[in-house]
Symmetry: C2
């Protein structure tokens, strides 16, 4: 593969000077169009040592409007990064829509180096490359453009280049030992890199192999590659959010008798006040102790609360948090996104709040909004929300692989019970803020939501992150069911 | 002082139940008004061990709309926090306008504990308390409401409370050793706390001492304190941004002859192309090497570039960055704030991007926008921008005390030179994006800006963070002047 980048291509100074102004101007135009089209761009700069990757980064900052470009370099993980799932550090650096992130070092660096130094098996590398394919697919489906540049030098050229650098005292004095080791293993590095490139050279995020022997050829190639990739992206038909789909009025009788996940929930179950008090107190004690154990052992947990309006999510969350030291948990109430959040992939705002080691985050509504409200209201296209099941499963897979306990609760109530609670809210002064016109409007779409919930549970109740469906008509019964289930999940994670 | 909180005040269950609903309702109303008025609220929860601070945090989450409240607990610093000036961790948690942040542990915790365990001197504590006063003053001037609650128990009550807790296995098993040590030193703790409270009990951010013996009295007091503090804040006349002040046309002849900082700059100095190339290359080599040394020794630097439109800020920044490994620096181009930034204190967005250990951030425009564009355009009130000099000096003082090198450059050009550059920009395709109608409008306000720049330099050129005024009519001369000055600052920091 790399032979294609050892052809000795050169560009004369004269030719470069003749071509650069136009390229520069066109790149700026392209950047402006990207910004208008609100496309986030990720430029991955990778390749062999000595190819001048740093110079390329400088070049991009010179050619492009610096207000819309940011370079991110990935060194060793910080403590805060190491406490989260591996991709957290990349999510932190995702470019907002309309801006460009240059990734100097990226998700490719560690897998390749680990394999070069045999810190992982060939199979593990394959797995990791599959993860990368999924990740890039998700970003592209979310509207991003990914431009992957691999800078290549032949073995001889690299040797000469590094020898020249070694004479330059300022440079050589600061070349890290890893880098030296690294360049000695040219062949091994080439072999692993070739494999990584091959397995991640997808139609939507292709690799661009750049011959880096001549710096003018290299720079011109970078500029042209960027320009054509940006232009191609801008010509694509952008996915437009579908107008709210008018779902036909379903045959109610039919829906009532059909066996779905939700209508199999036995909503008649109740608990007496005495039994409730006893069990609540026992469960809260147990959870308090488990939360401390989790803290000491660095176990992270994430609990997701979804449910019908007025199904009692807030009350359940408070019963849990009252048991736990406030330093150990955080409640995220998911409301309208901020504009920084809106300018990102829909999962970004949840990655953002992932808890640190030993801590717990309770999400009052969550990423499942994508397949509930966004589906029903038509905020996401059908293609987008259908794709989300897999994206969400993959997200939760990354959490659980990092050792995070993921607990998900759907609080179910009957339409009649909801109506009674809405009315009560309207009549209780300190509950009035909880009931809005939107709640009444949502209620009218009960059937559409019911279908969405059934689909959601079907698609996303996985072995590693199962849904607990809670019979919510009796608040006491519901609370105990949630606390009991949460206690179990925590206890088994701490066994 | 604490005797006032040992009076044995109690509230019966009946009375509490009678009073709570109204309080609850009114608090919710107050929260809604706060949100509309876009006031950020900081509630500090502190006090003796065993007073039920955790329960109070839970209570606040129960009483208030959880979508607008977030609790932050401050444990030991993370690695990323330790790499920044001390207040970075608090700036990270600042509530956006209209929301409430409950600080469980706060900027008070460490100074008090350090003094209790004699890890700092009485003098150092005083200094720290003065820092806190300034910090709270700055937040309040920025529009925040700070409610400081101190929960108190008498010595006997605390002993009983902790003994009872000790019987509760789940609780005692997880009481950290520090806490135990802590409660043994009741008197010492009371003495230090009293001093901390006294020295930070200011008119704009008073302490509220809460007797915590009876939990119903405690809870009711918390609710009432919050309510009255919020109401008082909402009744205040909010500072409204002044309309743009029409500054009188100055007597130009007079201004020309007056000796100001700017018009003493000798703009006739130039450098030949050959001399420039030689010196540039030498300086870039030196800076490259210094940047690596800084990385190895964990020295952080921050460079600020301000100057007239078209004074060559971008070109200067690129001459520096081209010398440095892209992994070591970051350029922040300050443009319009995002809405998350707009919902915060004006310094928040700069705290946010402070570099990590060994790294460098170059700000293309900076916090000085406050006393330049915001002053001239009337975006900030006169009172606000005048206050900013001190806030900015204090900010930079915190940076330098943390060992950060702060370099500030004002790129000065004459009005004629600017005009020539504007015209050149209009005629060069890849420079056209750099010239807008706004630049022309700014140019008309040259005199107002000139006054603002002179004031800015007068007020903020400190010994620890001096301004370098750059003679910018000749780009080559200007670049060398900046690089030379930057090299010197770095070199002396690394001596």
């Amino acid at each position: 593969m790399f032979e294609a980048a050892e052809l000795g291509r050169r560009v004369s100074k004269k030719k470069f000077q003749a071509l650069e102004p136009e390229l520069h101007t066109k790149l700026l135009e392209a950047q402006r169009s990207l910004s208008k089209a609100e496309v986030p761009v990720i430029v991955i700069v990778s390749g062999v040592e000595g190819a001048g990757k740093g110079d390329v980064v400088g070049l991009l900052h010179r050619w492009l409007d610096t207000r819309g470009i940011q370079t991110h370099a990935f060194w060793d993980e910080t403590g805060e990064e190491a406490e989260r799932p591996r991709y957290w550090r990349f999510w932190r650096c995702m470019p907002p829509q309309g801006t460009i992130a240059v990734m100097f070092g990226s998700w490719y660096t560690k897998p390749i180096i680990d394999r070069v130094f045999k810190r992982c098996t060939a199979f593990e590398l394959s797995q990791e490359l599959a993860r990368i394919r999924d990740f890039e697919r998700l970003l592209i489906d979310g509207g991003a453009l990914i431009i992957k540049l691999w800078f290549h030098l032949s073995k001889q050229t690299q040797r000469k280049r590094l020898q020249a650098d070694a004479k330059d005292r300022a440079r050589s004095a600061h070349t890290s030992p890893t880098v030296e080791k690294f360049s000695k293993r040219y062949d091994r590095f080439a072999e692993v890199s070739e494999r990584a490139i091959r397995e991640t050279d997808t139609g939507h995020a292709p690799w661009h192999l750049v011959e880096a022997t001549d710096h003018r050829y290299r720079d011109l190639t970078v500029g042209r590659t960027l320009l054509s990739a940006i232009r191609a992206r801008l010509q694509q038909q952008l996915p437009v959010a579908a107008p709210p789909r008018v779902t036909e009025a379903p045959n109610l009788a039919k829906l009532d008798t059909a066996v779905t996940i939700l209508n199999r929930v036995d909503l008649t179950r109740t608990l007496t006040e005495t039994r409730y008090r006893q069990r609540l107190s026992r469960l809260q004690k147990a959870i308090r102790s488990l939360a401390w154990q989790a803290f000491e052992r660095g176990v992270v947990s994430v609990a997701v609360f979804e449910g019908w309006d007025a199904s009692g999510k807030g009350g359940v969350i408070r019963r849990i948090t009252r048991a736990i030291d406030p330093r150990l948990y955080r409640v995220i109430s998911v409301a309208a996104p901020t504009d920084e959040e809106r300018a990102q992939h829909y999962l970004w705002r949840f990655w953002r709040h992932l808890p640190r080691k030993g801590h717990m985050t309770l999400y009052d509504r969550s990423w499942y909004g994508r397949v509930l409200v966004e589906r029903v209201e038509g905020f996401a296209t059908e293609e987008a929300w259908k794709r989300s099941y897999r994206e969400i499963n993959d997200f939760e897979d990354q959490l659980t692989q990092h050792g995070i306990v993921v607990a998900k609760f759907w609080l179910h109530v009957s339409p009649d019970e909801q109506l009674a609670r809405f009315k009560e809210r309207e009549q209780t002064p300190w509950k009035q803020h909880k009931i809005t016109d939107e709640d009444w409007r949502n209620r009218e779409k009960w059937d559409a939501y019911e279908r969405a919930v059934n689909d959601m549970i079907t698609h996303t109740s996985t072995g590693y992150a199962p849904w607990t469906i809670v019979a919510g008509n009796d608040k006491r019964f519901a609370r105990i069911q949630v606390l009991e289930s949460f206690r179990e999940r925590l206890a088994s994670a701490l066994k």
